[in-house]
C-alpha cells in the first residue's frame, strides 16, 4: 500500500452509514469465528475481516437491481447486499432458517430478492457467471450492471481471461473487482503471479483497470461510482483492483504461518478500514466516542440475535434431503 489515502468528500450521513455497514460485517465475522470455535459452524469458513471497505464501498456505488456475485469469502457481500444476518448465520450453522435452508453452507448462499448470486466454491468460476449476468442485462436491455468479485488467487485462473475477452468483445455491462488481499491461501501474490499488478490483467483485451486503496471505503466508493457509470453507459467492463488485506487465515483451519505477525499488526494498526473512518468521524465531529459506542452496542445486539437464531433454528427436516434437486416441469 504505497498510495496515501486521498481526502474524499463525504457527508455525515454517508460516512456513518458506511461505518455501520463495515462494523456489522466485522462483528458478524468475529461472531462467526467464535461459533466456529464452539463447533457450531463446520467445514470451511472464510472470514472477511480486514476487507470490509471493499464490498461496502462498492455496494454503495451500485444501483437497485444491479447483481453481485463472488467467491466463497462471501459473508460480507451478503450483509452488504442487505441480506439478513439471521439468515446468513443460520446457514453457517446448517439450520433450516438459513438462506439455503441448511443445504449450502458458508460458501453457497443466494438471494434472488437482493440480487445476490452466490457464494461460489470453485476459484474463479464466478467470473464467467458474473459476465453471464451482464449478458442477461444487455440482452434484456434493463440498464443494470453485474459486479463480480474475485481474489488475487483467482486472477491466475484461465477462465477469468476467457470471461474478460468475451465481456469486452460484447461490451457487457459488468465490473470485475479483484480483491487483492495479497495471499492466495498461503501463497503470496509474488510467489504465484509473474505480473503482480493485477489491474493490468485486462490490458490485452482492451479492458482498462484501476488500482484502488481497498482499505479506504471512500476511495473504493468513488472508484466504483465511476466504473459503474462506465459499464452502465454501454462502454463495457472495467477492472478495479482493490488493495486489501485479510487479518485472519484463509479459512478457519489456516494458522497463517506464511506471514509475520508484524505484517498483520501493521495493517491492523495503520490501515484498518473501520478505524480510519472512525478517526474521520471524530475529527469532523460527526460523532463522539459515546455515539460510536452506542452504535457498536446496537450492532452487537443484531449479531447476537443472529447467533442466537442460528443456534436455535432447527436442523432441516430429513425430508429436505431430497428436495430442490430438480424443479417440477410445469404442465
Amino acid at each position: 500500500m504505497t498510495t496515501k489515502p486521498k481526502h474524499h468528500k463525504t457527508t455525515k450521513k454517508d460516512l456513518l452509514q458506511l461505518y455501520r455497514d463495515m462494523l456489522l460485517i466485522r462483528r458478524f465475522e468475529e461472531k462467526a469465528g467464535q461459533l466456529y470455535g464452539m463447533g457450531l459452524i463446520a467445514g470451511f469458513c472464510h472470514l472477511y475481516i480486514g476487507q470490509e471497505a471493499v464490498v461496502v464501498g462498492i455496494r454503495d456505488a451500485m444501483a437497485e437491481g444491479d447483481q453481485m456475485i463472488t467467491s466463497y469469502r462471501d459473508h460480507g457481500h451478503m450483509l452488504a447486499c442487505g441480506m439478513s444476518p439471521r439468515g446468513v448465520m443460520a446457514e453457517l450453522t446448517g439450520r433450516s432458517g438459513g438462506y439455503s435452508r441448511g443445504k449450502g453452507g458458508s460458501m453457497h448462499m443466494f438471494s434472488v430478492e437482493k440480487q445476490f448470486f452466490g457464494g461460489h466454491g470453485i476459484v474463479g468460476a464466478q467470473v464467467p457467471l458474473g459476465a453471464g449476468l451482464g449478458l442477461a442485462n444487455k440482452y434484456k436491455d434493463n440498464g443494470q450492471i453485474s459486479v463480480t468479485f474475485f481474489g488475487d488467487g483467482a486472477s491466475n485462473q484461465g477462465q477469468v481471461y476467457e470471461a474478460l475477452n468475451m465481456a469486452k468483445l460484447w461490451d457487457l455491462p459488468t465490473l470485475f473487482i479483484i480483491e487483492n488481499n495479497q495471499y492466495a491461501m498461503g501463497t503470496s501474490l509474488a510467489r504465484a503471479s509473474a505480473q503482480t499488478e493485477l489491474y493490468k490483467r485486462g490490458e490485452s483485451f482492451g479492458v482498462k483497470g484501476i488500482q484502488v486503496d481497498g482499505m479506504d471505503v471512500l476511495a473504493v466508493r468513488e472508484a466504483a461510482k465511476k466504473a459503474a457509470k462506465h459499464a452502465r453507459s454501454g462502454k463495457g467492463p472495467l477492472i478495479l483492483e482493490m488493495m486489501t488485506y485479510r487479518y485472519r487465515g484463509h479459512s478457519m483451519s489456516d494458522p497463517a504461518k506464511y506471514r509475520t505477525r508484524e505484517e498483520v499488526n501493521e495493517m491492523r494498526e495503520e490501515h484498518d478500514p473501520i478505524d480510519m473512518v472512525k478517526a474521520r468521524l471524530l475529527k469532523e465531529k460527526w460523532a463522539d466516542l459515546d455515539d460510536l459506542k452506542a452504535l457498536d452496542k446496537e450492532i452487537k445486539t443484531i449479531v447476537n440475535d443472529a447467533a442466537e437464531f442460528a443456534k436455535t433454528s432447527p436442523e432441516p427436516d430429513p425430508s429436505e434431503l431430497y428436495t430442490d434437486v430438480l424443479l417440477e416441469v410445469e404442465a
Binding site: S100, G104, F117, I122, A125, L133, K140, S146, M166, V325
Partner: protein, 459 residues
C-alpha cells in the same frame, strides 16, 4: 492416359454430396490449384481444387446433381497432347468407396437404420391418428426444435462456436442467424470453459440459453460449470436459484477422428443429480426431446450423435411436438430377450433384432431416450416378460449405462432373470484411428446378436 477426378470426401463422415457448380468447362486448360467445382455436403459448401495439369476432357456429372457418391468420377482430365478419344468409361464408384463405419454384418440383412424403424411395431407416442409424417434429418429436426422454441419465447437464445455466421459446425443451427439475428444466435470464441459459464450466468439472470458445444469432447473444458455451477445450484440455494439451460452437441464416436474426438460421456453426466440427461436416437425424438429440454426449468445435457445428423426419419407434422423427458420407448416388441440401448446404438440394436428374428429369437428393443432420470420401470416390465437382458452402448463398460441398468434389473427383477445380464460396449481402449481397429472397438449389431444369443443360451 487421362486422369479420372473423383468426388472427394470433404469431411470424415461425408458419403455423398451435391455438385452445385462447375467452375471449368470442357476444353479448358487447368493447372494445379485451379478451382474445379463447388460441392455441397451435409455440413458445408466447399470448393475443390485440382492437383493435376491438363485439359478438361469430359465432365461426367452435370451441375446440380444431388447425392453424388464419394468416389464417383466427375471429370476426366486429358494430359499433354491427348485427344478426347482416349477417354473410356470410368470405374464404378463402389470400387473406391471404403465404408469403414458400417458394422460388419454377417447375416444376410443389410438395412439402413431408418428403414429398420419402419418395421418397428407400436410407437408409444401420443400422436393423433391421421397425423402426417414429414421425412426430416436429425440435423434439421434439432434445428426446427430450437427455431420453434425461439419463436415462442424470446428469452431462448443459442450461443456456441460457429453457430451463427458459419451456420453451425455441423449445420444444426442453419438459418437461425437469418431468422433471429446476432443478439439471439451468438458466435463465441473457442473458449468452452468461459462461454459455458457465461451461459449459466445468463440462465441465473433470467434467460434460457442453449449452449452448443461443437462436440462434447470439448465440453470437458466446461464440465465444471455444467456440474458445479449449473447442476448443484438449485440444491445449494435451497431451491431459490434456477438455472434453465440446455447444453447440447454431438457425443461419442464419429468416424476416424481419433481418441480425443470420440468420447461417449453418457455415463459421466448421467451420474450427476441436478442434471437431466437426454440422448435421442431418431429425428422425431431429437425434435420432441430438444423442445422438452428447452422448456425444462432445469439444466439439461443433450447428447446428440454426429453420425445420426444426416439420417432421415419421419417426424410428426404437429404444431408442438414434445416428447417428455424421462420416458423410454419400446421400439420393437419381442418376447425372448430385452435389448436396452440409447442414441445411435439403438439402430444397431434394431438391426440385431432383425438378425435374431431370422434365427428364431424374438428381441424387444428399448430406446432409453433419457439417461437421467432413467426409466427403470419400462426396462423392468420388459425383463419380467422376456427374462433376459442385453445392455448395449457405445461408451466404455466400466461404470457405464449398461452397468447401471444391469444392477437395477438385478435389484428389482432378480427372480425373473433366466440368465445373467449381458453388456455390449466399446472396447476398453482409447478409440483408435485406424479404420480396422476403430471398427473392432465400437460395438456393432453383430456384437449385440452374439450377446443376445448368449443370454438365450443359443449359439
Amino acid at each position: 492416359m487421362a486422369i479420372d477426378i473423383q468426388m472427394p470426401a470433404l469431411s470424415p463422415t461425408m458419403e455423398e454430396g451435391t455438385l452445385t457448380k462447375w467452375l471449368v468447362k470442357e476444353g479448358d486448360s487447368i493447372s494445379s490449384g485451379d478451382i474445379l467445382a463447388e460441392i455441397e455436403t451435409d455440413k458445408a459448401t466447399m470448393e475443390i481444387e485440382t492437383i493435376d495439369e491438363g485439359v478438361v476432357g469430359k465432365i461426367l456429372i452435370s451441375e446440380g446433381t444431388q447425392n453424388v457418391k464419394v468416389g464417383t468420377v466427375i471429370l476426366q482430365l486429358l494430359e499433354d497432347g491427348e485427344g478426347i478419344d482416349v477417354l473410356s468409361a470410368p470405374a464404378s464408384p463402389e470400387a473406391v468407396i471404403e465404408k469403414v463405419d458400417e458394422p460388419i454384418v454377417l447375416a444376410p440383412v443389410e438395412t439402413q437404420s431408418h428403414q429398420v424403424i419402419e418395421t418397428v411395431a407400436p410407437v408409444e407416442m401420443d400422436i393423433p391418428s391421421g397425423t402426417a409424417m414429414i421425412e426430416t434429418s436429425v440435423r434439421d429436426a434439432l434445428r426446427d426444435a430450437m427455431a420453434e422454441e425461439m419463436r415462442k419465447d424470446d428469452r431462448v437464445f443459442i450461443m456456441g462456436e460457429e453457430v451463427a455466421q458459419y451456420q453451425g459446425a455441423y449445420k444444426v443451427t442453419r438459418e437461425l442467424l437469418q431468422e433471429f439475428g446476432p443478439k439471439r444466435v451468438i458466435d463465441t470464441p473457442i473458449t468452452e470453459h468461459g462461454f459455458a459459464g457465461i451461459g449459466v450466468g445468463a440462465a441465473m439472470g433470467g434467460l434460457k440459453p442453449i449452449v452448443e458445444f461443437m462436440t462434447w469432447n470439448f465440453a470437458m473444458q466446461a464440465i465444471d460449470h455444467i456440474i458445479n455451477s449449473a447442476a448443484k445450484t438449485l440444491y445449494m440455494s435451497g431451491g431459490q436459484m434456477r438455472c434453465p439451460i440446455v447444453f447440447r452437441g454431438p457425443n461419442g464416436a464419429a468416424s476416424r477422428v481419433g481418441a480425443q474426438h470420440s468420447h461417449d460421456y453418457s455415463s459421466w453426466y448421467a451420474n450427476v443429480p441436478g442434471l437431466k440427461v437426454v440422448a435421442p436416437y431418431d429425428a422425431a425424438d431429437a425434435k420432441g426431446l430438444l423442445k422438452a429440454a428447452i422448456l425444462d426449468p432445469n439444466p439439461v445435457v443433450f447428447l446428440e450423435h454426429e453420425m445420426m445428423y444426416g439420417e432421415m426419419h419421419d417426424v410428426p407434422d404437429l404444431e408442438n411436438y414434445i416428447v417428455p423427458i424421462g420416458k423410454a420407448l419400446v421400439r420393437r416388441v419381442g418376447s425372448d430377450v430385452t435389448i436396452v440401448s440409447h442414441s445411435r446404438m439403438v439402430g444397431r440394436a434394431l438391426e440385431a433384432a432383425e438378425i435374431l428374428a431370422t434365427e428364431g429369437i424374438s428381441a424387444e428393443v428399448i430406446d432409453l431416450r433419457t439417461l437421467r432420470p432413467l426409466d427403470t420401470d419400462t426396462v423392468i416390465a420388459s425383463v419380467k416378460k422376456t427374462n433376459r437382458i442385453v445392455c448395449a452402448e457405445e461408451g466404455w463398460g466400466q461404470s457405464g449405462i449398461g452397468a447401471e441398468i444391469a444392477t437395477r434389473v438385478m435389484e428389482q427383477a432378480f427372480d425373473y432373470l433366466d440368465a445373467p445380464p449381458a453388456r455390449v460396449f466399446q472396447k476398453d481402449v482409447p478409440l483408435p484411428y485406424a479404420g480396422n481397429l476403430e471398427a473392432l472397438s465400437i460395438p456393432n449389431a453383430q456384437d449385440v446378436v452374439v450377446a443376445a444369443k448368449a443370454v438365450c443360451y443359443k449359439d
